[in-house]
């Protein structure tokens, strides 16, 4: 077998850094103390609060500002202009294509929102219901700032005997490369979405998406697609009950943003 120097290097590091027997014994005792008592019926059911949960800390002021901003954006642009067509159109991939106007609007929105929240912004999501954002308690260090981009994800549907597509759900995520985006399942049909974009040396993007739409019983496991900027790609096709569903995705750099 071909030698793998990287594996050998990492394996030796793993051996040097593994916990010793005494440390493992102490950890095992600590875990046993923390486990719920054993009963005759086996493990106790889940009890909220016994395990420390991630606390999604969002500043109240930010939430209020987000509502104002979201309302403002919708008033200024409206759902159609914001890129969420409700009427049926023929070219399915066109739903996932961002126009120059939309790109310019999103670049300004990202810059203004970042300025407003003094570099605490992690991502902004736009969909037909409004605007959502997540903030970090930490500021983004200038040296950590990556290129801004927008990722559009669109779920379309049509009956099997129809040609026109209708938008079930559409979302634009404005964020920075390498930011791990977790959107809670609170928008339209979305039952939650995870997104992560990694720029490749050749100028394309690896876009990792996990998506669920319980209402339409469509779920997409985590998959990475290699996308070229401005070229929408079909990433999922499903048929159920005489209805066809497709998910398209596109990514565009927000070139004049910070970074």
């Amino acid at each position: 077998m071909k030698p793998d120097p990287l594996k050998a290097l990492l394996k030796s590091w793993a051996e040097r850094t593994q916990a010793g027997d005494a440390d493992l014994d102490a950890l095992g005792a600590r875990i046993r103390d923390a486990l719920p008592p054993v009963s005759a019926s086996g493990p106790a059911p889940d009890e909220p609060g016994a395990v420390f949960h991630p606390v999604r800390r969002r500043l109240a002021a930010a939430a209020a500002a987000a509502i104002l901003l979201g309302a403002g954006a919708l008033l200024l642009h409206g759902p159609r202009e914001a890129g969420f067509p409700m009427a049926a159109v023929n070219g399915a991939e066109d739903h996932a294509r961002l126009t120059a106007e939309q790109l310019a609007a999103r670049r300004i929105l990202l810059e203004e929102t970042e300025a407003l929240f003094a570099d605490h912004l992690r991502w902004v999501q736009l969909d037909a219901a409004g605007m959502h954002l997540e903030l970090s308690e930490a500021t983004v260090r200038p040296e950590d700032s990556k290129a801004g981009l927008v990722v559009r994800t669109v779920m379309l549907t049509r009956k099997e005997n129809q040609t026109d597509w209708e938008t079930v759900w559409s979302s634009d995520i404005l964020t920075r490369a390498e930011e791990y985006v977790e959107v809670a399942g609170n928008t339209g049909c979305s039952g939650g979405m995870e997104l992560w974009v990694h720029p490749l040396p050749d100028g394309r993007y690896a876009v990792d998406l996990q998506f669920q739409c319980p209402r339409q019983k469509v779920a997409m496991p985590g998959e990475t697609r290699i996308l070229s900027a401005g070229r929408p790609e079909r990433i999922l096709t499903r048929s159920a009950g005489g209805q066809e569903f497709r998910i398209y995705q596109s990514v565009e750099p927000l070139a004049n943003g910070r970074g």
Binding site: R16, L24, I31, P36, E137, G222, E223
Partner: protein
């Protein structure tokens, strides 16, 4: 039942049936070192690795009644572990986390000579820094396939992603690691 000879699945069934404490002990004895190692490789910090390992076993214990044996117990447990690690890294990214270099981890002894220990500590620091530069998903890919010796299909099952996706992540993670550790590789 001879606990020491039983398979993981047999032990899980015993726990589901009557919650035998000695069975829990045996399962923990078998899996604690590997889970703890994996959590350190993801968190790159011993204190966080201990907390994460505890969280993994508590979650596994609470979810034991739902385990139906579709996957091996080990794969199921490591999937819980990776979920815990990813959530933790997400939380850490949202906090004002100090750079890892500012919180040096004690190097494990690997020789009596101070110069050998110092060189190993420096190398360990470079490896940790290289791993820290990887995004959580890329780090998970390299931890599972290179450090934990999972096959690509097994690692994809643990990560809950497509095989092609996992293959790509490993490829990209290795490329970035090789670039970061170029001076330490032949």
């Amino acid at each position: 039942m001879d606990v020491a000879e039983a398979t993981d699945s047999e032990l899980v069934i015993a726990i589901q049936r009557d919650g035998a404490g000695c069975v829990v002990e045996e399962l923990m004895r078998r899996h604690l070192p590997r889970v703890r190692g994996m959590m350190y490789q993801m968190a790159l910090n011993h204190a966080d690795a201990d907390d994460l390992t505890q969280e993994v076993f508590i979650r596994a214990w609470r979810g034991m009644a739902k385990f139906r044996g579709g996957a091996s117990f080990s794969t199921w447990l490591h999937r819980i572990a990776m979920n815990c690690a990813m959530s933790f890294l997400g939380r850490r990214a949202r906090r004002a986390a100090a750079p890892l270099e500012a919180v040096p981890e004690p190097a494990a002894p690997c020789g009596d000579r101070p110069d050998v220990r110092a060189a190993a500590a420096e190398l360990d620091g470079r490896i940790r820094a290289a791993l820290e530069q990887l995004t959580p998903k890329l780090r998970a890919a390299i931890v599972l396939t290179v450090l934990q010796d999972y096959s690509l299909p097994e690692a994809a099952r643990i990560e809950g992603c497509a095989l092609a996706t996992l293959y790509w992540r490993v490829h990209e993670a290795r490329r970035l690691m090789k670039r970061s550790l170029a001076e330490d590789l032949p």
